[in-house]
């Protein structure tokens, strides 16, 4: 799975925000704010990374346990699914 086309991640001052473009503005006429971890995962998903790779990357970046990394990713993916932001590779 990966992030749908038409969402641009931007760094504005110190904030990570996602701007919908194209016909995504019908559903997201505004911006989506991400925290630092979410922005990190967003970039990985955007490039089509698989879940195991994401777990490894998160563990390495934040020096956290496998379990915690997996939980963070599950929560993030669930939120993206709820907002219909994901598509199959």
């Amino acid at each position: 799975m990966k992030i749908k086309e038409g969402f641009i991640l931007r760094k504005i001052a110190d904030a990570d925000i996602v701007v919908p473009i194209g016909n995504n503005i019908a559903d997201f006429n505004g911006i989506i704010t991400l925290n630092e971890t979410a922005a990190f995962l967003w970039k990985l998903l955007k490039d089509g990374a698989e879940q195991p790779d994401m777990v490894e990357a998160l563990m390495k970046e934040y020096e956290i346990s496998r379990e915690l990394a997996q939980t963070d990713i599950d929560n993030f993916v669930e939120r993206l699914n709820q907002s219909d932001l994901l598509m199959e590779n």
Binding site: I8, R10, I12, A13, V19, I21, G22, I25, N29, G30
Partner: protein, 379 residues
């Protein structure tokens, strides 16, 4: 504790792609023609230059970008500019008179709809369009254009400006705008000021008198009456009836934190917002041309940084300093009306004084009505 916001950040930008327009609206602040353009000595920036500038402002953190004119669709390269900029990740607002929409323009707007579209509509008939814009046929083209733009998922704002020539058409314009549905916003400009940066319109001949303006304000803006009335009721609350009433703190706890902001002109201009004019100058807002830096020559970052050093505000007139009314005068409108950012703008001043007099009369009438109501209740 006073909290002072020292941040200066170019969050909102305006790209004035051209100051030319296919319509010749009598009250336009911006419009110039080829002759005036030659007199001013500038040149419109190319599509490549605007696209490059958009990349620079994107890197600098601009999030809201207004593409405007003049009429931006008058440029033969509008599609090229729009298509590139719309993919960079801005919240795009597009201002247009909706009379030049081609199938090719619609194709690119369907692919990348602006987040917001502001459409100027100056009448509800060909006759009014002829009087206001000098082009009767533009009315039907505007209606067709609005129908096309409404097919997009963009937020639509219909913007109108009242002058002597379309005053009688206000009810029809309003009706037409509201018929389109609740999701369409309808805005009427508060006052018309004189042209800026060499604009060629003669607004003194067509703008409403201060008296007409105030009459319109009362007619359209019920808030103008309701808000002071609310304030009056808050300051004169009905006497509580006997009984065990809960004591309540009526102060807003957040209002006690006095947030102060540093500004250059008394607003966001030059602090969190900027405009890049048709000829490539970075100014505080589209109405200002008093000072500028050169983003195309020096790069946006440098031009944005240099800008505050260029701003020189003259002292404001004594009469304005002593006045307690809040009005539409700001450095930009003062400059447009008087040629100086400090002078008293007679037209705006007269209009505001009349508006307050009218407001005072309305409040007094309402107070009397409330008192009469209380007396009837006692009887």
């Amino acid at each position: 504790m006073d909290k002072i916001n020292l941040e200066r950040f170019p969050a909102n930008g305006t790209f004035e792609l051209t100051a030319r327009c296919n319509l010749k609206c009598k009250m336009c602040l911006i419009r110039i023609d080829n002759k005036r353009m030659a007199e001013l000595g500038g040149r419109e920036r190319t599509a490549d230059e605007w696209i490059r500038m958009a990349r620079e402002v994107c890197d600098a953190g601009t999030i809201g970008l207004l593409l405007t004119g003049g009429e931006p669709m008058l440029r033969p390269d509008f599609i090229e500019i729009y298509e590139a900029i719309a993919q960079m990740g801005f919240i795009i607002t597009l201002y247009t008179n909706a009379t030049l929409i081609t199938p090719e323009i619609m194709e690119v707007l369907r692919k990348f709809p602006p987040h917001k579209i502001g459409i100027t509509a100056y009448g509800a008939s060909s006759e009014t369009y002829e009087k206001v814009t000098g082009d009767a046929k533009a009315y039907h083209r505007m209606i067709e254009g609005v129908e096309l733009l409404r097919q997009l998922p963009s937020k639509i704002i219909i913007r109108t400006t009242l002058i002597k020539d379309n005053l009688d058409d206000l009810d029809n314009i309003t009706q037409w705008a509201f018929k389109m549905g609740k999701d369409i916003e309808f805005n009427v400009s508060r006052v018309v000021i004189k042209p800026v940066r060499g604009g060629i319109a003669h607004v003194e001949d067509c703008r409403l008198t201060p008296e007409q303006n105030v009459a319109m304000l009362v007619k359209r803006k019920m808030d103008f009456i309701i808000n002071p009335l609310k304030k009056y009721i808050e300051e004169n609350p009905p006497q509580p009836k006997e009984g065990n009433e809960t004591k309540r703190n009526t102060e807003d706890p957040i209002a006690s934190i006095n947030e102060k902001k540093l500004t250059l002109y008394g607003c966001d201009a030059g602090m969190n917002a900027y405009t890049i004019t048709w000829d490539g100058k970075l100014v505080g807002c589209q109405l200002l041309g008093d000072c500028w830096t050169e983003p195309f020559e020096d790069g946006f970052e440098a031009a944005w940084k240099q800008f505050p050093d260029k701003v020189k505000l003259p002292p404001v007139s004594e009469e304005c300093i002593g006045c307690k009314l809040s009005c539409n005068a700001c450095p930009a409108t003062r400059l447009a009306e008087t040629g100086s950012m400090g002078e008293l703008p007679e037209y705006l001043c007269k209009e505001s004084k009349l508006a307050y007099k009218m407001q005072e009369r309305l409040i007094n009438d309402l107070k009397n009505i409330i008192k009469e109501g209380e007396m009837i209740e006692k009887v």
